[in-house]
Subunit: 375 residues, 2 copies
């Protein structure tokens, strides 16, 4: 257990959160990102009697598609829609010990008890709680909290990305029972993959080919084309722009790019981190206002693979991979799955069978609906 | 309207179905595959007063992923869980005119009224009704009917694949409300794509690389490895073998390969077509027996792209593409989405976000559960 509460991002003048770490009763790590100093979270012990954490996960290789598949058989036993009173993501209180031993928190990150990545297969899975308020949502966080969550994502990307064998860090949120969420407390997840996931590999390959063919960056060209067209822009400020992509797959799909391209979350400077919340929360509010029920969505940070150790100036390194990493354009990819009142989009026969997507909502119409004044 | 009812597959000695075609009131084509001759379906007129069929579909190109996306905005108006009495896939009867003007049928295929592919974008979408029995299921079809459905799939693959601009014919069934099925009458679909869908492209590229590296066929090697291992075999006969793939993505995923590799459905000879039903229906029965409710699934025929016109002996043709086509190994890919009693597998954050799949059920365990005696 460490007690060295330190500013979460010492290199960043605008850093406004304090990180402290501790261990849970079964040996898993927990990290607090507090918005005020001196809370001494490291001294808080987990009073539960848990067996030692020995998660078994396996990684296999699909010989037909040439892609990895993760196995987490013990996840079948994970909590499934627990009652609010027994939520494992709420702060602990007398008589109810949760995954978070503290009696309150701002943002907390801990190793997942039922990980899809662990052990010999490598990698790590973490849970990120956005607020101690069980009934909250990302859309309802106060601006400073969004910044703290952003700092936590950047922290995890940098720290997990530096672990041996970790090739990519993926930060995401699943929201809504309709997309399979089993715990309703507002939270996201971080996967530190021991491989570069297929979509990231494909985008990098596409960006490399685009650079070779045009001399330009693929992500820059896509964002510039959306800005020039304008019909699919949903929201923007000085730091971020949100649009429905021209070839959206989901009925209400939004990509949020920084106005200046960076490869990953740690590379976003302080003002950009502060500027993210107003655009993203505006988009989330518009998604929730479309239909009677809150919008179920996946929010996926698409970012570059982890930097290779000793990348800078390293002679003989894989030049292609390094060039590829620098070509990546960080963006948040929001996939909202309700296509109409009471109707969901399913990734069924064409999508799951042969990766051919069909969408019932034209992107221009989706953007128009999202731009309409919220009630 | 044509009245030339002919054996569905004149080149095939074992053909036992008779095909006749007609037009629906709005100009869409309908094809009957009957198990007895002389029913004169072509003389049956559609008595509905339908506006001319002018489906608008669009095809766009996703610049980031480099993949096509289909748009079918008018599909938002399609029927959504109609009551059994107003099912559009039942035969017509006095006072209830459906999509099938005939008072009964064995297997019927017609152009989808709400296609994701149509018009200038090219391609075509069809619906395949497996039985006139609204309450039936593929698992419950009699053996001869399965053969008739197989003949219909092969017929559509050959005929649609020969249309100008069609690059791939995809036959599939979505089964179950849980996967988004909006019509409960037992039916599947056929998509004639104006592109080679991404998964098929990837499998072909992988097969080409495997041939270059090993001199062997990728699909043959995968099937041989499953047979040699044996732990994941679920069912087999002289013509087909069904197994849970070693790196399955879905909790209960089964691939059914012919024992002798062929590139597509038309290439399966008569005895193989007759032998398919016993293995596939055995698998479906085992899937349905796993949990209290019937298993929701996607059943996807993975087959080669359409042959290029003049492929045989054509000088100067794209040798790689032709070689690739011949390398493909036809198989039925069954993706069952219930992971436990009352629990579904969702393609959420890791799957939909970055194409990294995780599975809660180890393939050996899934195969063991499927092999256990059915009640």
């Amino acid at each position: 257990m460490r007690s060295d509460a330190t500013p979460a991002d010492p290199a960043e003048q605008a850093a406004r959160s304090w990180r402290s770490t501790a261990l849970l009763a079964d040996g898993r790590e927990i990290l607090y990102f507090d918005e005020s100093p001196g809370l001494n979270r490291a001294a808080i012990t987990d009073k539960r009697d848990l067996p030692a954490h020995d998660a078994v996960a396996a990684l296999r290789w699909d010989p037909l598609a040439g892609e990895p598949v993760m196995y987490a058989a013990q996840r079948q036993d994970r909590l499934f829609h627990p009652a609010a009173g027994s939520c494992p993501l709420c702060p602990s209180k007398p008589g109810h010990h949760t995954e978070i031993p503290a009696p309150g928190y701002d943002v907390v990150v801990f190793e997942n008890r039922f990980p899809a990545l662990a052990g010999p297969a490598g990698g790590r899975c973490e849970v990120v709680c956005f607020t101690a308020d069980h009934e909250g949502s990302f859309a309802g966080l106060d601006p400073r909290r969004v910044r703290t969550v952003f700092d936590a994502w950047a922290d995890r990307t940098a720290e997990l990305g530096a672990l041996p064998g970790v090739k990519h860090v993926y930060c995401f949120e699943n929201r809504g029972e309709e997309i399979g969420v089993t715990l309703h407390h507002p939270h996201g997840q971080v996967y530190a993959f021991p491989f570069v996931p297929p979509r990231v590999s494909r985008l990098l390959a596409r960006a490399g080919a685009h650079r070779a063919a045009t001399g330009r960056n693929l992500f820059d060209d896509v964002v510039a084309a959306e800005l020039a067209d304008g019909r699919r822009i949903v929201a923007r400020n000085d730091h971020w722009v949100a649009f429905v992509p021209e070839a959206a797959r989901w009925p209400f799909e939004v990509m949020i790019f920084p106005c200046v391209r960076v490869p990953d979350l740690p590379a976003v400077p302080g003002p950009g981190r502060d500027g993210f919340g107003p655009v993203y929360q505006d988009v989330l509010g518009r998604l929730d206002a479309l239909f009677a029920a809150p919008m179920p969505y996946i929010a996926a940070w698409q970012q570059a693979p982890s930097a290779e150790e000793g990348e800078a100036g390293q002679a003989g390194a894989d030049d292609d991979a390094i060039a590829g990493r620098a070509e990546f354009g960080l963006h948040l990819h929001v996939m909202a799955i309700r296509r109409a009142e009471g109707k969901l989009k399913y990734a069924a026969g064409t999508e799951s069978g042969v990766d051919a997507w069909s969408n019932d909502v034209l992107p221009e119409k989706a953007a128009h609906m999202l731009r309409s004044p919220t009630p």
